[in-house]
């Protein structure tokens, strides 16, 4: 038993975990055993990760009622013609990380394919993000998170302008309630300096805070303001990245689960999917909550994901009593592994409150709960007493893909040459994504992937205009003359026309399901939540594609036609 193994074992024992088998190699602590409950599994993992000298934790710990996770069983699918082509790089996962990487890879003379289990890009943790582009105050100084968050945040304004994606910068307002906690502001300023977060100011006294947000409720002692915290549509941004990648020759294989990474003689040979083998020497593993299992399939047992559920609550766009900035209570009583969420405007104008943070072993289901809602309403309702929880029109949840070190894990896999893991992409994964992509390119180049810039890098194809944003009546009139569908409003709450829904279904990255249409057009995101437009969108999908699903395979929209017997 080496020193590190002994150290980890000692720490676990002193915390009461006697029966955890520990084996440390090259800084990776491998844990195995059965504990009493899931909280214990998670705590043991964290204890191991916090041991000095441990670089990452691979955990096969489990508890009664929880089986060790497995990649979802492969369905029988016909082979894809894309499986007959040779590839240079396969990107696994079409979330914001995978699509950002694909967009950067598209600059080079490479054959790149993105493979995704869901029926759409951004359909996993990305769609469940609240869209906050964090400024970089939260990550621990020196962490990969801190570096890539601040870099990524700085890239967003330019990148969004280039991609034609709307970007707002509401800023972050941390509110300190009690005078006893005002000393924390000095720590915030020190953190800002260390992480190089620009423009952070301490607000001493309630007046300074209320000058930014006059309607805040309750006792206020002070706070801080960070001006670079932004808001973006996470699916809008991801789709834009994917579209630009596709415009530069990157292929996308959606609705196709990966069953493993093929490795031969210590090198990646390809990626096995439900639709056949994608031959390639390089693989970027951006599989989110499944990233550890994808890595393990290549023999790489360096990290384990323990999902953390976050619930969000969306207010009607016309709801009153909200803030201009993204607000977060800040004090000594912080939740341990979340920044505590925020309440603020999204890029689309709706206010979003959340997320919560709930540890779970479940990797496929993302339920919201009454307790989650009550917690969020209590926490932010105190600060924003003018907001009425009756104006909450939507609730959703997602899974953060968390490693035990609580940092990003972006590195070459050991023992599987050509595999780059981009894992642990929890918050601030969205904010960091553009910088993560550059880091991945750097690693691939360093690993020997030839990076020759293409002569031409096409911009994202111009997306169709939005009816609701067309202030120019003459332009709209001309559009309706060429295509009357521009005059047919399908979704009344968000004012989305039939032309926009039809356009959203176009192309290789076009929407194939009701949810995918919703993410592209906002049809169904308003206060009636698809009550009026759902069947119209479903009808348009049916006219074009036949069967209608809510979100791809296994989610049929209806149960069938009415049979009248014979």
């Amino acid at each position: 038993m080496d020193d590190l193994t002994r150290a980890v074992t000692r720490r676990l024992r002193s915390a009461g975990y006697q029966d955890v088998a520990v084996d440390c190699r090259d800084g990776v602590a491998a844990l195995a055993g059965t504990l009493l409950h899931w909280e214990a599994v998670v705590e043991a993992g964290h204890i191991a990760a916090e041991t000095p000298g441990v670089r990452s934790v691979y955990s096969e710990l489990t508890c009664p009622g929880v089986d060790l996770p497995k990649l979802p069983a492969a369905r029988r699918r016909p082979q894809s013609p894309l499986c007959r082509e040779p590839w240079d790089v396969v990107v696994v996962g079409a979330g914001v990380t995978g699509c950002s990487v694909a967009r950067e890879l598209a600059r080079y003379d490479l054959r790149v394919i993105v493979v995704e289990a869901g029926d759409d890009v951004a359909g996993g943790a990305t769609r469940a993000n609240n869209g906050t582009v964090h400024c970089g105050l939260d990550p621990l100084p020196g962490s990969l998170k801190a570096k890539l968050n601040v870099q990524g945040n700085a890239m967003y304004p330019g990148l969004c302008a280039e991609l034609g994606v709307s970007y707002r910068v509401p800023g972050l307002l941390g509110v300190v309630r009690s005078a006893d906690e005002l000393f924390l502001l000095d720590l915030v300023l020190a953190r800002a300096a260390e992480n190089r977060v620009p423009g952070v100011v301490a607000l001493r006294g309630a007046e300074a805070v209320r000058s930014l947000e006059p309607t805040l409720g309750g006792e206020i002692a002070g706070g801080f303001y960070s001006p670079t915290t932004g808001a973006v549509s996470p699916y809008g941004f991801t789709l834009a990245c994917a579209e630009q990648a596709a415009a530069n020759g990157v292929s996308f294989l959606l609705d196709t689960a990966v069953t493993g990474v093929a490795v031969h003689a210590g090198r990646v040979r390809g990626v096995r999917t439900e639709r056949g083998l994608l031959e390639a020497s390089w693989c970027v593993n951006a599989a989110g909550v499944w990233a550890d299992l994808i890595a393990a399939s290549a023999g790489c047992r360096e990290f384990t994901i323990h999902p953390r559920l976050g619930e969000m609550f969306v207010f009607d766009v016309r709801a009153r009593g909200h803030s201009r900035t993204i607000i977060t209570p800040f004090g000594l009583a912080q939740d341990e592994y979340t920044k505590g969420g925020g309440a603020g405007p999204s890029a689309c104008g709706n206010h979003i409150w959340g997320p919560t943070a709930v540890e779970t072993w479940e990797r496929r289901l993302t339920p919201t709960s009454r307790t989650g809602r009550a917690k969020v309403v209590a926490k932010f309702g105190e600060l924003l007493p003018g907001a009425d929880p009756a104006d909450i029109i939507a609730a959703y949840a997602g899974l953060r893909a968390v490693t035990y070190t609580e940092d990003f894990h972006i590195a070459h896999a050991r023992g599987a040459g050509g595999l780059v893991n981009v894992a642990g992409m929890q918050s601030p994964g969205l904010a960091a994504a553009p910088a993560v992509a550059l880091e991945v390119i750097r690693l691939l180049g360093e690993g020997g992937l030839p990076l020759r810039l293409r002569r031409h890098y096409a911009p994202r194809p111009t997306p169709p205009p939005r009816f609701s944003e067309l202030a120019d009546g003459e332009l709209l009139q001309a559009l309706i003359r060429t295509d009357p569908a521009w005059g047919r409003v399908v979704c009344r709450c968000e004012q989305v026309t039939e032309a926009e829904v039809k356009a959203a279904m176009q192309g290789p990255l076009g929407a194939r399901s009701v949810d995918a249409v919703k993410r592209r057009t906002r049809a169904g995101m308003g206060r009636c939540q698809g009550g009026f437009c759902g069947y119209r969108v479903a009808t348009l999908l049916q006219e074009r594609f036949g069967a209608v699903t809510k979100a791809g395979d296994g989610s049929p929209w209806l149960a069938g036609v009415i049979s009248h017997g014979t």
Partner: protein, 412 residues
């Protein structure tokens, strides 16, 4: 249609149709209905059950028949109809901004604008139902549309939450279409819909009605697999009372919300109790020349009431009545009163809902110590819309605010 009309009606459902016909009858030269859908009638075409028109036409009609009857009256009266037309804005004048595929963007200046947009359904989130978000969760109106217009089955086995009329009717309709209805769950200790619907739609088909129960969570990944239901006391789920009911669909029938985005954005004064604009007894909102009627003002239970009230609005839009108005407010055990202001000099029908169920009551409309209208009821429940006809009042008689009270009947 020219850019200027006498009366423009937003919405071609029962309220809009009745308002338009009444406006024509009252002498308006040009009346236009702007309707979003491709046909008139609003929600009526999908309400294929009977029970419509007993008061208005003295006949028991289905929803489509009632709509057709009114569409015929509108055509006879010379009402112009613009289908597939969405109203985007309402500005002072009043002026409507609208769009449709054939004309594009256009404006309509009207002497009177009647808002008759109806209502939308409360959703699962508004009912606090958590869990996953699979396919198979429908509001009752959407499920009804699939069954009765599209000819599609939304689910094979359904749980219905909420015992409003649409939910009750849907339980029967799903059963008749071959689906299984596991049960109707109502969080109140009494049904929200009409008693006749509880009997004819649930009892007659052996569908269980679980009072003081609600749905807490939806389960399932791609498609609904089950829901968790629980007992409710004082609005809270009782811990330990949860049970999981397997089903492939959840139909949410938990109430209606007046659609007033247009009304609100134009700046009309709203009544928080009704969710609709404040109106006087001629259905004038606080915006000059702008009327509101039907479910935009408050949610009705019978379409005949909608038509009757909308006719008052339409007639006044064509030929406004003069006369000062006094406020009319909710008193004991009354949640709200519509209209919120009484115009003197014309007869008025007052609508109200109670706060809590009560037996043997007298509904009384009083001005100071003077009773100007009363009605006895054996029992009242909050979901029921109560109405009371008042004779025309002279301005001298109405010296102060008018109050509607629901009191226990005095034993004489």
């Amino acid at each position: 249609m020219g850019p200027e009309v006498d009366v423009a009606v937003v919405g071609g459902g029962p309220a809009g149709l009745a308002a338009a016909v009444a406006a024509k009858e009252a002498g308006a030269a040009s009346v236009v209905i702007l309707e979003r859908e491709e046909c008139l009638g609003g929600i009526l075409p999908q309400c294929i059950h009977t029970g419509f028109g007993l008061a208005r036409f003295g006949e028991d009609l289905t929803g489509p028949e009632y709509a057709e009857r009114y569409a015929g009256l509108a055509a006879e009266a010379g009402v112009e109809v613009l289908l597939g037309t969405t109203v985007l804005g309402l500005a002072p004048g009043p002026v409507l901004r609208a769009v449709n595929p054939s004309v594009g963007l256009f404006k309509v200046h009207a002497r009177g604008v009647v808002l008759a947009m109806g209502c939308r359904e409360r959703t699962r989130v508004q009912a606090g139902i958590g869990g996953t978000r699979p396919a198979g969760v429908f509001t009752a109106g959407v499920a009804q549309r699939y069954l009765n217009i599209e000819g599609c089955l939304p689910g094979q086995s359904a749980v219905i939450v909420g015992s409003g009329d649409v939910g009750l009717l849907l339980a029967r309709r799903l059963t008749l279409c071959g689906a299984r209805v596991a049960g109707v769950y109502e969080q109140l200790p009494y049904a929200s819909g009409l008693m006749r619907n509880v009997v004819q739609c649930l009892h007659d088909f052996g569908i269980p009605l679980h009072l003081s129960h609600t749905v807490l969570e939806v389960h399932g990944r791609g498609r609904v697999e089950a829901v968790t239901v629980a007992q409710v006391t004082e609005g809270r789920p009782v811990p330990g009372s949860e049970t999981v009911v397997p089903c492939d669909s959840l139909v949410v029938s938990v109430g209606l919300i007046p659609e007033n985005e247009l009304t609100r954005s134009a700046g009309a004064l709203m009544d928080t109790a009704t969710g609709g604009p404040v109106v006087d007894s001629r259905y004038r909102t606080t915006l000059p020349g702008v009327y509101a009627c039907g479910n935009v003002v408050h949610v009705h239970d019978l379409v005949d009431h909608v038509s009757a009230a909308a006719a008052v609005a339409g007639a006044d839009a064509a030929r406004p009545a003069a006369g000062p108005a006094v406020p009319i407010v909710a008193g004991d055990n009354v949640r709200y009163v519509v209209p919120q202001r009484l115009v003197t000099g014309t007869p008025v029908r007052v609508y109200c809902r109670v706060v809590r169920p009560q037996r043997d009551v007298e509904l009384a409309v009083c001005c100071g110590s003077r009773v100007i209208g009363r009605r006895r009821e054996a029992a009242v429940r909050p979901p029921e819309l109560l109405c009371l006809d008042l004779p025309a009042q002279s301005p001298d008689e109405l010296t102060g605010p008018v109050v509607v009270n629901c009191h226990p009947r005095e034993v004489a």
